[in-house]
């Protein structure tokens, strides 16, 4: 528990450090995630060290959003005024992402099975 918290906080700190170096181009937490992934992938860190804490906090992540989400009470007016634009933009974009991603992945897979079939 303590060990896992330590590693996650240290990787968060390293992420923040790199983020400062690149002038906050990418948030520190995202860089921390990449660094933690790389450390695990290249076996610099054993997965057991972080498994318990990482699983616990990612499983219950949604509750951490509450303070930010409640901020909506301050911006309810903005939301109401632009509701139609927001709903259409989000809906349209979501469908477009699904179409793009699924078609590209399926093309790649078909291409691969075809190639294997040719051999």
């Amino acid at each position: 528990m303590i060990k896992g918290s330590f590693y996650i906080l240290i990787f968060y700190f390293l992420g923040e450090l790199f983020s400062k170096i690149i002038h906050n181009f990418i948030p520190g937490s995202v860089l921390g995630m990449i660094l933690l992934f790389l450390a695990l992938f290249f076996k610099l860190l054993r997965p057991d060290n972080v498994r318990e804490v990482a699983t616990a906090i990612t499983k219950n992540m949604a509750v951490f959003f509450v303070p930010a989400a409640v901020g909506l009470m301050v911006y309810a007016g903005v939301l109401a005024k632009n509701l139609i634009a927001i709903v259409i933009a989000i809906g349209g974009s979501t469908v477009l992402i699904m179409v793009t991603v699924s078609l590209i992945q399926e093309r790649f897979e078909k291409h691969k099975t075809k190639q294997n079939g040719d051999k």
Partner: protein, 239 residues
């Protein structure tokens, strides 16, 4: 003790850290319960908790700044939970084997299409710069989306709401879109769900199957990274 002193003491108590944190946990718990009991996708625990707390604050006249300050510890936890996603990503790495190029290409394209389409549709419908900056990271998991919005001039609270709207919409419409397109690949289906609608898409993908669910979970992390890389460029050229 006079009645006014008593009311003052109650007021202090209900705006204290211990009470407000209990309120967050309690309302969220109620949200989980309602979601499980009814199975209605719209009843996301986050939405229910948010509505209960907003009503409570409005009713008691406690302002948002006080609430935010006294629940800061939860907001701080967003950072470590993003870092912890690195472990989740590592766990799902076996699904990538042999598909690295296609998965990265698909998610990268999805991220570009997602940002450009949401920015242009919103702008076309008259949204201003702040709103656009809050909308752009909507397909990414909330903690990443919030920090991206903060960094690019958006409003985190709006982004948090957009992320939930996007997740609910994608979770409902996703399987229909995939069926209409005639997608058969399990990896393609999972990727589409996770890339477009993060954790809520993944929850739905898990109902489709184990592989779909795992790939969808993987897509959340990669989509987060790609969008974090792309947003600064979008901010410079599109907003």
């Amino acid at each position: 003790m006079g009645i006014n002193n008593f009311l003052g003491a109650i007021r202090l108590l209900i705006s204290s850290e211990v009470f407000l944190l209990s309120l967050v946990m309690g309302s969220f718990l109620l949200g989980i319960y309602m979601y499980r009991k009814t199975g209605i996708t719209l009843l996301q625990p986050l939405l229910i908790s948010m509505l209960i707390i907003i009503s409570f604050l409005k009713l008691t006249g406690i302002d948002y700044a006080t609430f935010y300050n006294n629940t800061r510890i939860l907001n701080f936890m967003l950072g470590p939970s993003v870092v912890a996603l690195g472990y989740v990503l590592y766990e799902q790495i076996e699904f990538v084997k042999g598909n690295v190029v296609s998965i990265l290409t698909a998610i990268f394209s999805g991220s570009i299409v997602g940002i450009i389409s949401v920015v242009f549709i919103a702008r076309w419908l008259g949204a201003d710069k702040i709103l656009i900056a809050s909308l752009a990271p909507k397909s990414v998991t909330t903690p990443i989306a919030i920090s991206l919005a903060q960094k690019s001039g958006g409003i985190p609270a709006l982004t948090a709401t957009f992320v939930v709207i996007c997740g609910i919409f994608g979770g409902i419409i996703g399987p229909l879109v995939l069926r209409k397109l005639g997608i058969k690949s399990k990896i393609a289906s999972g990727l589409a769900m996770g890339t477009a609608s993060h954790a809520l898409g993944t929850a739905r993908a898990m109902e489709m199957g184990a592989i779909e669910g795992a790939v969808s979970g993987l897509a959340i992390g990669i989509m987060g990274i790609m969008t974090a890389l792309l947003i600064p460029f979008a901010e410079r050229f599109l907003y």
